[in-house]
């Protein structure tokens, strides 16, 4: 491929590759995101290629039409194979299904009933991906392209209109106009802060100092959140295009992508995308003949949650340990190497080409008064349809959890949804009709965060969950400032006592004032929001705390010190499985006779509970 030197050449190239593909011809999309890969989608893709050859269908389906794509979001039902142009969506595909898929569906357009979506309530089968309830309420402006793009192909991205926003910005807009467009679109930072991106760019452009830096924050450390991974992994060029436009607007020549090393596929795909963009002349000197030059380097993180915080991220990029600094000077004035810097999250950058192409007015039409556009959430935990959902701001929690997510599985009762990552909050059922946007979630004591949404059911103990987050933050605190380093530790110790049945009545007051002190006294947002999970669970689930303290009981049956395992003689068949699996010989009994569990020896590992096929193990 030779360099694309002008706008005309880009459009010419786009036309050429569009002409190469007949839209009526078959395209097969196989999800090759991290989740589906773990379920064997690579083998499925290989098998499809082989089978098409051996069934003599190579003329009907070219090799380039078999795409290993990014994540289409419906992770619960992976591996996912979608056959276009019909949009026939097969879920939970295995290698064994492949010969039939090729001989029936690809060769003869026949639907294989067992592989399509079946509505759990109506038992109705849904063939097309767009008609599956999980997708119906979504507006997938960012994620939607994942299905059609081989994540390792820049041609696919360009075919679907990629880099046209960059072309538009470079040819028809002055840098200030680009910034004004983003300001008018009211794009707020998707990493959690919600700061208006356009104003950030504006400050960086007008700040004194050279060079200026543009950084993409892909240090997605929130446990249970993986939308940035899916974007960077599945459609890396959309992020690059956003960054190049941002750099043009700000007047920057140097960019960085700071990505978690725990996301190996995102690192690979983003690195490849950078190489391709350079080869095509979309990065480097004189981009598309505009005279503007910009390049991006990739930097892998070292597994420190705090490095998602801007000043810690800069320290890490400078080759130091990731400790935040006080932020009385903004990063837009003095960021990386003390130079003006615009740091935005992956999803924020991916929104930029959309805004430039469709205009601020269009973008503004989606969402609520204070939060515009769509937001991707990762809907996980005790939910029927785990996956990534992209919805307009303002949709209610109930719509996300029930209409899209399919509710809580196994007939269990919904208890709470945790939003905003480790420093977010747990929202109870009575607030499920709250519209989801930056401001409404904050009002409930939680926050938007980067978009993690963890659903919990009656079997989750809220004290345990609060303790889990504190442990997480205790470990991830960089240790620089005392309120965070010592405060979280002390709060966690109190929660340890409560969950082990040694809590005291006054502990709740202590947790409250201590939490406030940590919020007031911490240097960065990690400490400043660390007590949130404790404070919100105490607000909404105080009865659970009281049950642990007063009655020495864990109502959800989670906290080990407060529960007992026993065997229900009615249900026990003497199959001996529990005795076999028990690591400490607490479960005993002769085969075909009723077994027992010795509570003095039992370590409450739940192994017996998991293996028992007769519902004979009871937790009290």
């Amino acid at each position: 491929m030779k360099k694309i030197k002008t706008l005309e050449e880009l459009e010419q190239f786009r036309k050429e590759i569009q002409a190469q593909r007949d839209p009526k011809k078959t395209v097969i999309s196989i999800c090759a995101g991290t989740g589906c890969l773990a379920l064997g989608s690579k083998k499925i893709a290989g098998a499809i290629k082989e089978e098409i050859q051996s069934q003599g269908l190579s003329l009907k389906v070219e090799l380039s039409a078999i795409k290993e794509t990014g994540c289409p979001g419906f992770c619960e039902r992976g591996p996912i194979v979608v056959i276009y142009p019909e949009g026939t969506c097969y879920l939970g595909v295995t290698v064994e299904d492949v010969p039939e898929i090729v001989s029936k569906t690809i060769a003869n357009n026949e639907i294989i009933e067992r592989l399509v979506y079946k509505d759990p309530d109506t038992k109705e089968r849904v063939v097309k991906d767009s008609e599956i309830p999980f997708y119906k309420k979504q507006q997938r402006y960012l994620l939607g392209k994942n299905n059609f793009i081989d994540s390792k192909s820049i041609e696919d991205y360009i075919r679907l209109g990629g880099y046209s926003a960059l072309a538009k910005a470079l040819s028809a807009m002055k840098p200030d106009e680009v910034i004004q467009e983003v300001i008018d679109a009211d794009l707020r930072g998707r990493g959690g802060g919600g700061f208006p991106a356009g104003w950030k760019w504006h400050s960086t452009r007008n700040a004194e100092g050279d060079p200026k830096y543009v950084i993409c924050n892909a240090d997605e450390g929130d446990p249970g959140a993986f939308m940035d991974r899916a974007l960077l992994e599945g459609n890396p060029h959309s992020v690059l295009e956003g960054m190049i436009i941002g750099a043009y607007a700000i007047g920057s020549r140097d960019g960085y992508i700071y990505v978690r090393n725990e996301y190996p596929l995102a690192v690979t795909n983003a690195t490849l995308a950078l190489d391709q963009a350079r080869e095509f002349g979309l990065l480097g000197e004189n981009i598309l003949g505009s005279g503007f030059g910009f390049d991006i380097k990739i930097m892998r993180g070292g597994g420190a949650f705090v490095c998602g915080e801007s000043s810690a991220l800069f320290a890490s990029l400078e080759g130091r340990s990731g400790e935040p600094r006080a932020k009385y000077i903004h990063a837009t004035d003095k960021g990386l190497w003390d130079k003006p810097t615009s740091l935005n999250n992956v999803e924020t950058w991916a929104n930029v080409p959309l805004i430039i192409n469709k205009g601020a007015k269009w973008y503004n039409g989606i969402g609520t008064e204070g939060s515009k556009g769509t937001k991707i959430f990762s809907l996980v935990g005790k939910i029927s349809n785990t996956g990534l959902v992209e919805v307009p701001m303002g949709i209610t929690l109930r719509e996300i959890i029930y209409d899209i997510g399919g509710g809580v599985p196994g007939g269990k009762k919904f208890k709470a949804v945790q939003t905003g990552g480790p420093s977010g909050g747990c929202i109870p059922a009575k607030h499920l009709d709250t519209p989801v946007d930056f401001d409404e979630l904050t009002k409930l004591g939680s926050m938007m965060g980067s978009g993690g949404m963890i659903v919990m059911d009656e079997n989750n103990c809220m004290v345990d969950v609060a303790n889990y987050f504190l442990k997480f933050l205790e470990e991830e605190s960089c240790g620089k400032c005392t309120p965070c380093r010592e405060g979280i530790l002390q709060m966690r110790k109190i929660l340890d006592l409560i969950t082990s049945g040694e809590g005291k009545e006054e502990d709740l007051d202590t947790l409250e004032w201590m939490g406030q002190a940590i919020i007031d006294g911490s240097l960065c947002a990690l400490g400043g929001s660390a007590p949130n999970p404790v404070i919100t669970t105490m607000r909404y689930f105080r009865d659970e705390y009281e049950a642990h303290i007063r009655d020495k009981k864990c109502p959800a049956g989670v906290c080990k010190a407060l529960i007992k395992f026993s065997i229900d003689p009615e249900n026990c068949t003497g199959c001996h499985l529990c005795a076999r699996i028990c690591p400490v010989e607490a479960a005993t009994g002769e085969k075909k006779e009723i077994h027992t569990i010795d509570d003095d020896i039992c370590i409450k590992c739940r192994a017996c509970y998991e293996v028992c096929k007769f519902d004979a193990i009871k937790i009290m």
């Binding site: 996980v380 987050f469 076999r580 590992c605």
Partner: protein
């Protein structure tokens, strides 16, 4: 060792800013961060050895002690936690006799936890030598450990 370290550093144009990825590559090469290699990094990059150790001990990804033949990692992200990752962690700890971050005395197994691998639909996840094993249970983990050469009782007949 000297040549290898030099090679890694030259890949990053001897740029001090890339200390974290340089250490990642050094660790990949030698399976941990041996003192000698860190000393070389310090000399070649002209960064004080104290700073190198500061960085090597700050980030969770680095290990100053040799790692085992097999790497087991339990994902303890929130989605995995609410689906029982703590029990799984306790179980692996008990079977291997080591805590997260440690390596068994015979250098067979290293055990860690990770905050989230982003494959939440599969939770709880046990990562074994880079492969994700989803919807993990105690008995499934026993089978996996047995495959890796650890003597454990499984619920299958032998």
């Amino acid at each position: 060792m000297e040549d290898k370290v030099r090679e890694i550093i030259s890949k990053y144009d001897s740029d001090k800013a890339f200390l974290v990825p340089i250490l990642q590559d050094v660790q990949k090469e030698f399976n941990h961060l041996p003192h000698k290699a860190l000393h070389r990094v310090s000399v070649f990059l002209d960064v004080p050895i104290s700073r190198i150790y500061e960085v090597a001990t700050f980030y969770k990804a680095f290990s100053l002690t040799p790692r085992g033949d097999h790497q087991l990692t339990v994902c303890i992200g929130t989605a995995c936690h609410v689906r029982g990752a703590q029990n799984l962690t306790d179980h692996i700890e008990r079977i291997l006799g080591i805590k997260p971050g440690e390596t068994s005395g015979d250098l067979k197994f290293s055990f860690d936890t990770v905050n989230c691998v982003g494959a939440c639909a599969l939770g709880p996840i046990l990562e074994a030598d880079g492969d994700y094993h989803g919807k993990m249970t105690i008995s499934k983990s026993n089978k996996l450990l047995k495959k890796l050469g650890k003597k454990v009782v499984t619920d299958e007949e032998d």
